[in-house]
Amino acid sequence: MGLELYLDLLSQPCRAVYIFAKKNGIPFKLCTTEVFKGQLQSKEFFQINMLRKIPVLKDGDFILTESSAILIYLSSKYQTADHWYPADLQARARVHEYLGWHADCIRGTFGVPLWTQVIAPLTGAHVPEEKVERNKTAMDRALQQLEDKFLGDQAFLTGQQMSLADLMAFEELMQPVAVGYDLFEGRPKLAAWRERVEAFLGSDLFQETHGPILNILEQAVNKKFPKPSPEVYPYILLRISRIP
């Protein structure tokens, strides 16, 4: 039984794992687990992950959650190129420094617009305007720190080469972009970084990974995005209530 990855490409950390595996030629079975079809709530998925979250890695009997842990596991097991997760003490520390800050300041922040602009309207949930504004302020602050503290004059976030940090950051930033927020406007340094990341990934892999998320706005507008099934509503309302 080979490697299985439980992913929904609408999810930022899932995309990071997907891209990493694909880019590095790591063979895996894609077990698509669709959040808005209620598949996280299924009995089958509970056997995979009691916390009902994705991404999940299943390698034989070994089950692993948390995207950064999965990425580090894959990079070590499949001995991917050093730049992803450098062996050098200080270079590796920089990746972990980014991942720590990302967990507090990026994760939970950049996913919000999808919930407020697309999902909430579909389910009739109301999101107070002050939460939307607060989120915009949080995104602005995070983008400034991303540019000043992490990118600086480097080509990538933790050095001159692409690493796990860039992958994680890029996928989070793509989320609001997909629902029409031009985060990169007025931020030429970040825009240039974005282009470097996209060039590194290559357009085929980019299209393949971002198809679902980039179509979401169009689908919502044309009322083609499937209305989430009733059993997902409590989960959706919970996620929305968690928006600070």
């Binding site: 070994f62 842990a69 580090i72 070590s76």
Partner: protein
């Protein structure tokens, strides 16, 4: 130039680093940063960590922020015993998994309980709001339940069969509300047993030393020292805890 660790022992991740360095005999200069006095926002500290947060490390010219990054750096540079961060792939992944999960699952809700129970009343002069406290304790509960009922059901420590960085981080985080009178262990026997196990493994004296500040009542003169700062802090806390 020796290793410098910029810490405020009121902060759980700072305590984890302090305990780790002391336990492993890592020589360092302690550079206290008093969050209560806004020292983390002053230009001198921002040169060390432009993100304006503790903990921070300075090793010669190398500056490093973020507690997990610092722990892993110290662990590797000073070649701590393997149980802290195993070399075996799957065991290490379990530690990585906990360290990633704990940011939002443990650190955030446990800190909020502490802020509601201790910092907010201290700086506002108002008594603890029991409704707010109850709500915030409720947000910590699912993670405690998961650790007690699922994680610790199959092993003595949180990531592996031995004490690791996961346990160290969890311990100092869960001591935060505990130290100010919220006994979060009372409903969770496995978690309580784990806590005793960790304390014994780290050494009660070292644990006591690291927690000395957070265990003692705050100086009531703090809030009056800079009323404007206190007021701003109260505003931010109310927003955060709403």
């Amino acid at each position: 130039m020796p290793l410098e660790l910029f810490l405020d022992l009121y902060s759980p991740p700072c305590r984890a680093i302090y305990i780790f360095a002391r336990k492993n005999g890592i020589p360092f200069e302690l550079r206290p940063v008093e969050l209560g006095r806004g020292e983390h926002l002053k230009p001198e500290f921002l040169k060390v960590n432009p993100l304006g947060k503790v903990p921070a490390l300075k090793d010669g010219d190398f500056l490093l922020a973020e507690s997990v990054a610092i722990l892993l750096y110290l662990n590797r540079k000073y070649q701590a015993a393997a149980h802290w961060y195993p070399t075996e792939l799957q065991a290490r992944a379990r530690v990585d998994e906990y360290l990633a999960w704990q940011h939002t699952a443990i650190q955030l809700p446990a800190t909020n309980v502490y802020l509601c129970k201790s910092l907010l009343p201290h700086f506002s002069g108002q008594p603890v709001d029991p409704v707010r406290l109850d709500r915030l304790l409720g947000k910590l509960k699912p993670a405690l339940r998961h650790l007690d009922q699922e994680v610790l059901a199959t092993k003595p420590f949180l990531a592996t069969e031995q004490l690791s960085l996961a346990d160290l981080m969890a311990f100092t985080e869960l001591m935060q509300p505990t130290a100010v009178g919220c006994d979060i262990f009372q409903d969770w026997p496995r978690l309580a047993a784990w806590r005793a196990r960790v304390e014994a493994a780290l050494g009660p004296e070292l644990v006591q030393d690291a927690h000395r500040l957070v265990l003692q009542p705050r100086d009531p003169r703090d809030a009056q020292r800079d009323p404007k700062l206190a007021q701003e802090l109260v505003q931010r806390l109310l927003e955060r805890l709403s």
